[in-house]
Symmetry: C2
Subunit: 336 residues, 2 copies
């Protein structure tokens, strides 16, 4: 059996050179100083504000050691792009910190960087710096995503107003069902459904253009990306805005695959769909006067959006299934 | 024995609220949206360019589990500030990603955040976002530091020119001797020397004002902060600038404490001083016509600077001790 080459056999600087030095798509502008200096120097257009967000993925928590590193590279970029989408920003540049045990196979890093590069090209974001360190245990990666938007136009969590309608993009619950299947916690009889749901978990689609469209036309009062699950993220949004919400659970958009699982299993799956994270769809609030305009925006982009509830006074966030309140506990992912 | 409270007993969101929500010094400007949204929104002044850098500290590699978390918080901030100092930038805002095992004592995080806050006030930088995750093994923290400088004025590694004189701030080798003492690899008979050298390792002083002074007066052709050691970092600088260098080792500035160790031990300590990292002093290149002006700048700031060598043609970087070339190997820290 051929012994696999590890990163310790090539060394830190050669690893950076061979895997990460060419991760700048040709059409990304604003890089005065990129990779290889003490810091990156970036030119934020003068009418714009910088938007920056960071997310860490930890082996054993966010991914497992035998997950495909190519897909992981793509996902690491996408979850960060999703944060910028939720602000309405145009993503442009990113930093990568990678902490790896010296025994990490070189091919793992090559594949991870191939995924990063491919989606960097797709979303037109450039790697402009980072840090590479050893690790005593697991593999850890932190991406810091930077972009910009017009001054004073950010889609904040705190902007919700009474009577706003709550919308989501796409379909919810797919990622959590895909993950359950991947971990062997749920068996999907239909292999096409399994592939579809797994892919929704592995390759979320950041709603960048739609987020930018919402702020361009000033259509939304606030937004969040659904990383922790609908229940937890709606609570985050309502807490920040000091409002409550009523959600009609039967209106929540489900994919055909998710609907088939819901019909095949008992009702418990519904709670999982409401509380499971990692869909990375946008949840946003629209004033009643803008419903037509927001529908037109979604049509224009070919993106499905669905009204699922309304912003209310007070602080309680209620999920009603055909008019009957559901009991959901606190819901959502928490790390400790 | 009283059982210590862990972070899992308070939970992720309460941990963030109690430890990190008030880390914004009152005099830091430009924060349109800070902590608690999907991303931070920051206003880079229109004549300025964004400068951004990231550094990760890993338990078992950069620090040990019984290191003082208060000092660690301060150091984590300072090593990142040092990167911005090496570009000549004014630091303003930072992000923190923290990955911790659920068994981490709450007091560890409280102390870590106290150190961060204290030095945040000192250097006038504000925490504007981040991520908190669990970890299966060690504690890991990544700080992303942001600031700005005048357009086109960054102190890059690639700007060195033939005949430039090489300077360093402060004294070199203190941190590596302090660390050797801390790890029990070297015994210091003088306890005051031990305290001094340990402190140089634990609390490096980022040379922010001096870096900014260098670009304000356009006095330097390039700079780097000495994190990997003089030998490795000078090579990084020369490689980026496609030049060589000659260093007169006897000119390298040493503290009284380091000089006493050098005299007490055999010559091998000199190699350690030249290759040991974490001094976080600046190494920079000045054209012969600016020597007077740079000396005045240093005097004005009360900072010692020392000329240690010259930029040469070719690509070889030589260290000469009283005219005799030293053999130093590749030198410097590498992670794999």
């Amino acid at each position: 059996m051929k012994e696999e080459k590890t990163i310790s056999s090539v060394g830190e600087f050669e690893l950076i050179r061979s895997c990460f030095s060419s991760s700048v798509p040709s059409d990304v502008t604003g890089i005065t100083v990129g990779l290889g200096d003490d810091g990156a120097v970036l030119d934020v257009p003068r009418t714009q504000e910088l938007v920056v967000s960071t997310d860490t993925l930890v082996e054993g928590i966010h991914f497992s050691s035998d997950d495909d590193p190519y897909l992981l590279g793509r996902k690491a970029l996408r979850v960060n792009l999703s944060d910028l989408a939720a602000m309405g920003a145009q993503p442009r540049w990113y930093l990568l910190s990678l902490s790896l045990p010296p025994s990490t196979p070189l091919s793992w890093v090559t594949e991870f960087s191939r995924g990063l590069k491919e989606d960097g090209e797709r979303y037109k974001v450039a790697l402009t710096g980072g840090d590479t360190t050893g690790s005593k245990g697991c593999r850890i990666m932190t991406i810091t995503m930077m972009g910009y938007l017009g001054k004073g136009r950010a889609l904040c969590r705190s902007g919700l107003q009474l009577g706003d309608r709550l919308f989501v993009t796409g379909t919810l619950g797919d990622a959590t069902l895909g993950l359950a299947h991947h971990l062997g916690r749920m068996t999907l009889s239909d292999s096409e459904d399994a592939i579809y749901l797994m892919q929704r978990h592995q390759l979320p689609e950041p709603r960048i253009a739609f987020g930018m469209g919402l702020i361009d036309a000033a259509l939304a009062h606030g937004a969040i990306d659904l990383s922790d699950g609908l229940v937890a993220d709606l609570r985050h949004l309502c807490t920040a805005s000091k409002v409550g919400a009523e959600v009609d659970v039967e209106k929540i958009p489900l994919s055909h695959a998710a609907r088939r699982q819901l019909e095949a299993h008992d009702g418990d799956l519904l709670t999982q769909i409401l509380t499971g994270g990692e869909d990375y769809e946008l949840l946003f609030a629209v004033s009643p006067g803008c419903l037509g305009a927001v529908a037109n925006l979604a049509d224009q982009m070919g993106l499905a959006i669905t009204e699922i509830g309304v912003v209310t006074a007070g602080s309680s966030v209620n999920f009603n299934l055909n008019g009957t309140p559901m009991r959901l506990g606190s819901g959502g992912w928490t790390h400790f």
